[in-house]
């Protein structure tokens, strides 16, 4: 495949958020490379996901566990189910490295998660590190920095 255009990178990020909002989690998981990670740091400006605590640092196995759990009949915290809603700024292309097959986008966003009578609003920046695998764009790393990452939080059950 020829290198993805800027518009394709932007479209990918917007589509990813839409899949979450529409609970199309199987399609969403397919967007991750086999060795892809989803990372939500706990500390402001955190650089290490391994020896410093994070809110999430999940490989495909852990993400798959979350997606399967959302479907389970005995997942009581999802009865009734949560809903969510993303509002994204237009993703900005921070890096295009065609030789290394790596593309980085940066996307400020607001995210709402709601269940029963409770609705929580989060502000965050999503940093996508993307690559092409067999001609298709995939996520190597999706990093989500909450503006209030170190605050006392309520449960976040879906995905920013």
């Amino acid at each position: 495949m020829t290198a993805p255009t800027d518009q394709e990178l932007i479209g990918f990020v917007l589509h990813e958020a839409r899949l979450i909002d529409q609970h199309r989690f199987e399609e969403w998981l397919d967007l991750f490379a086999d060795d892809g990670f989803y990372w939500m740091p706990l500390e402001w400006g955190q650089t290490d996901p391994r020896l410093a605590t994070s809110l999430m640092y999940e490989d495909k196995l852990l993400l798959r566990i979350r997606v399967e759990r959302l479907k389970s009949n005995r997942t009581f915290s999802q009865k009734p189910k949560s809903r969510c809603h993303h509002v994204l700024q237009v993703p900005q292309i921070d890096k295009r490295d065609e030789a290394a097959n790596e593309y980085v986008t940066w996307t400020p966003m607001h995210y709402v998660e709601t269940r029963l009578d409770e609705q929580d609003l989060y502000a965050a920046w999503a940093t996508h590190t993307l690559t092409t695998v067999d001609g298709t764009l995939k996520i190597k790393l999706k990093r989500v920095d909450l503006v209030n990452c170190d605050a006392a939080l309520r449960s976040i059950q879906l995905f920013l």
Binding site: L51, R64, R69, F76, S77, L153, S155
Partner: protein, 438 residues
Amino acid sequence: MGQYHGNAAAVRDLVRETKVHRDVYVDQEIFDLEMEHLFANTWIYVGHDSQVPSPGDYFGTSIGKQPVLLVRHTDGEVYVLYNRCPHKGTRITIDTCGNAGKFFRCPYHAWSFKTDGSLLAIPLRKGYEHTGLEESEAYKGIPRVRHVKNYRGFVFAKMSDVGPDFDDYFGESLSSIDNMVDRSPAGRLEVAGAPLRHTFNCNWKMLVENLTDTCHPMVAHESSAGTAVEVWKKMFPGANKKPPAVEIFAPFMSSYEAFEKMGIRVWRNGHGHTGVHHSIHSDYSSVPGYFEKMVAAYGEARAKAILDESRHNTSYFPNFTIKGPIQAIRLFKPIAPNRTLAESWTFRLVEAPEQLLERTITYSRLINAPTSVVAHDDLEMYERAQEGLLVDANPWVNIQRLYDPAEMEQETAVVNGTSEWQMRNQFRAWSKFMTMSL
């Protein structure tokens, strides 16, 4: 003033041999009395001395609802100060931690204080001449919590003069802290990074009780731990060695029988632990090089004895719990009758391989984060209970499992791991420390 203020008999009546009245969880007056009496008469965990290594270092937290500062003074001692200026009440610091230098300076009127709280200077002091300032509360400086004990790095404080001294209060239960610290070849722990902070719309005691509730994991966590095992088997058919995350999730699905055999130990004053003989932390894979370091530090027999002890959750009454084998602690901070902040802190074992810290961090992230599926399972149950307890038709919560009237005479015991004795033990201590100054 309601029905409980100044009425020790009414408070005692809430705790029966095998049940407790819902007011202990939902009533505002009881909550206020807990803050005034229970959290004053007991030893409350404040922080770890590795958070304030150098003179002038401070760490801000709370005891009950009162803001306090853990401070390292110039003499090397650790003090706990109430975080208010003696002048107008302004909190001296708002940030969680920092270094005050040689003194605290109130940002409102620049009164300054040594790091032991004593008054250092007041601007334009002559305005207080002949006013009798020396006789005022303000002149005494930042008030200090009177009773403080640094036990192997863990700093506890007791606000009131009522209640037992430190050793009497904790007794043999300190063996769980000992075991966690001994797991470092250097015999030292260090706080590793920021805490996970998760807000629950339920009473703080529900979180404490849950940690010795061994009949809920296979039910409430089937959705998370059960799914984890299933997904792993499907994605990696025939694999033997579980990846670290599955190694952490899987034991939550242990059978009733397994939890029965793990055992529970109860101690005086409401302390106790699960996992006497074996625990959900027993079967983690070994970390290369760690045992050798432990043997070098302690000798083989002692090293084995330390590592064979695999206590699950130790509850230090009232609101502090630790997991020795994975060096994680949780503190349940009361905010309101129906609101609690759970803080989860992780520790580094000084001079141990970093894979142990990685495991601790993985555990806390997977089990105790606001984003953790296991925490989601638990929160759902506590919050449903907080709502269900508003039903007037039955105001009682049952804690009867494996009750034996003989236990009323017994302070320490090792029993079947599914016993609710530790919950009863906590409530008997609750009744005692609530009413001793009421």
